[in-house]
């Protein structure tokens, strides 16, 4: 998880406050809303120049910062 990742996520996590975002952080609990999914995908594409494959767009991928980071890392290696 690089430093840009937490900065990219923070605007989507309205309940995160000033707390540190770790791999274990639950994105849902911190306020990620499914209605924001498109904006988050755009942010990922703009930050890392990758598109997540369609089949990874499930609740499991967006469960924690760590699971989303793993999906992005996987996509970058393709």
């Amino acid at each position: 998880m690089d430093s840009r990742f937490a900065d990219m996520l923070r605007p989507f996590l309205k309940y995160a406050g000033g707390a540190e975002i770790t791999l274990e952080s639950s994105l849902r609990d911190l306020g990620l809303d499914s209605m924001q999914a498109i904006e988050l995908l755009f942010a990922i594409e703009d930050t890392y120049q990758v598109s997540l494959p369609d089949e990874l767009l499930t609740d499991t991928t967006f469960a924690t910062a760590g699971s989303l980071w793993a999906a992005i890392s996987g996509a970058r290696q393709c």
């Binding site: 309940y15 849902r28 609990d29 911190l30 306020g31 499914s34 209605m35 999914a37 498109i38 995908l41 369609d54 089949e55 767009l57 499930t58 609740d59 499991t60």
Partner: protein, 379 residues
């Protein structure tokens, strides 16, 4: 044990009066209890009938031909029961499933909340507690059949929740709660569901939390949401199919043959259009049943869109079908209370369909999902 046919006879007999008085169909519920059907989706090892979602849909369709309110009550009970079967921990399973399997328990659903605008996945109802006990104080504006439920599944914030999405689902027996009814129920349709505002207060062991604390969203995705939409769609389709059946019977009766020209292009194309709407909903219902049964992850956008589309289309098409039938038969049989075709009751009942978890909200969610699926993978 009553057979399904015997249950249907009781439901048909009680429906008109329950609608008129906007009261819960107590005798129909008793008949359902006596038939064992309240244990339809409970596995045989717990004394249930071991039915799946397809069986729930089939029974709901049959009930809805007699009374859409009873069908909704039944489908929503099955939704709660299946949720317990799939997500309750060992202690709760042992406590609840035997009585549920015998068909003795009618489960009420407490998911509505003032001020959250129908959002299922968030809550503002705090709970308190410790490692052993959870204290609930829940105000709910609409609890279908709530006055008659033997137990409830209640959504509330997990203790210490730091965001409104950390919602838990909690099981509580009526005896564990202080239950008060806060108001009446006098709606346009669905009158026999007697969906009253209630307050439920009490303390339950933490083992009665269904699934992990704060994980209601996962339960909704896997079970609660798909079953709601399947059950509601079945209730609406059954109600509209029953209406068409009575209209066709009327047209073919001696009285009807005097009124209708069965070679009229207008009559025939209208009837075909109504039938076509029901065929579309039935096909969508069967397709969704299959996709829900076969998909490993129901959070994938293609399945999510299919499940939501079923609800939206069933609500729209079934109401439109009955609206068209009113046009076909005219004022006397289409609009007046007391007609043997009772289209006006079904029309009023089905008007609720688009509002019963709002179509608009599901279209918004589907709009996001459309953008998440550029390949357009049809489930």
């Amino acid at each position: 044990m009553l057979t399904l046919e015997e249950v249907l006879a009781v439901v048909a007999e009680e429906a008109g009066q329950a609608d008129l008085e906007a009261r819960f169909p107590v005798r129909s519920l008793e008949a359902l209890r006596s038939s064992g059907l309240l244990g339809l989706v409970v596995p045989g090892e717990f004394g249930g009938m071991g039915g799946g979602y397809a069986e729930m849909v089939d029974v709901t369709l049959r009930l809805a031909r007699e009374d859409m309110s009873v069908a909704m009550v039944f489908a929503m009970h099955c939704q709660q029961a299946a949720t317990l079967v799939r997500h309750a921990g060992p202690a709760l399973r042992e406590r609840v499933l035997p009585a549920l399997g015998r068909g003795e328990l009618y489960l009420g659903s407490v998911t509505t909340e003032r001020g959250k605008g129908g959002h299922l996945l968030v809550s503002e109802s705090a709970t308190t507690g410790d490692d052993e006990v959870l204290r609930v104080d829940r105000d709910a504006p609409i609890v279908t059949g709530g006055e008659h439920a033997d137990a409830y599944l209640i959504t509330a914030l997990a203790p210490g929740a730091t965001s409104p999405s950390q919602v838990s689902l909690v099981y509580a027996d009526r005896a564990q709660l202080e239950v008060s009814v806060l108001g009446g129920w006098d709606p346009l349709g669905m009158r026999a569901t007697h969906s009253v505002p209630m307050r439920l207060t009490g303390a339950v062991p933490v083992t009665q939390i269904v699934g992990e604390p704060g994980s209601f969203r996962d339960i909704v995705t896997a079970t609660f949401g798909p079953l709601a939409h399947l059950g509601w769609a079945a209730a609406w389709l059954g109600a509209a199919a029953g209406a068409l059946s009575r209209v066709v019977g009327h047209i073919r009766s001696p009285e009807g043959r005097k009124q209708f020209d069965t070679e009229s292009d207008l009559l025939l194309t209208r009837l075909a259009a109504v039938r076509g709407r029901l065929e579309v909903v039935n096909a969508l219902l069967r397709q969704t049943l299959g996709a829900v049964a076969e998909s490993a992850d129901l959070s994938a956008p293609p399945v999510r869109m299919l499940v939501n589309t079923l609800k939206v289309e069933a609500a729209t098409q079934c109401f439109a079908a009955v609206d068209q039938l009113v046009e076909v038969v005219g004022l006397r049989h289409g609009y007046l209370r007391g007609s043997a075709l009772w289209l006006e009751r079904v029309f009023r009942d089905l008007r609720s369909a688009s509002l019963n978890y709002a179509n608009d909200r599901l279209r918004l969610a589907n709009g996001v999902s459309v953008l998440l699926d550029p390949e357009v993978r049809l489930a």
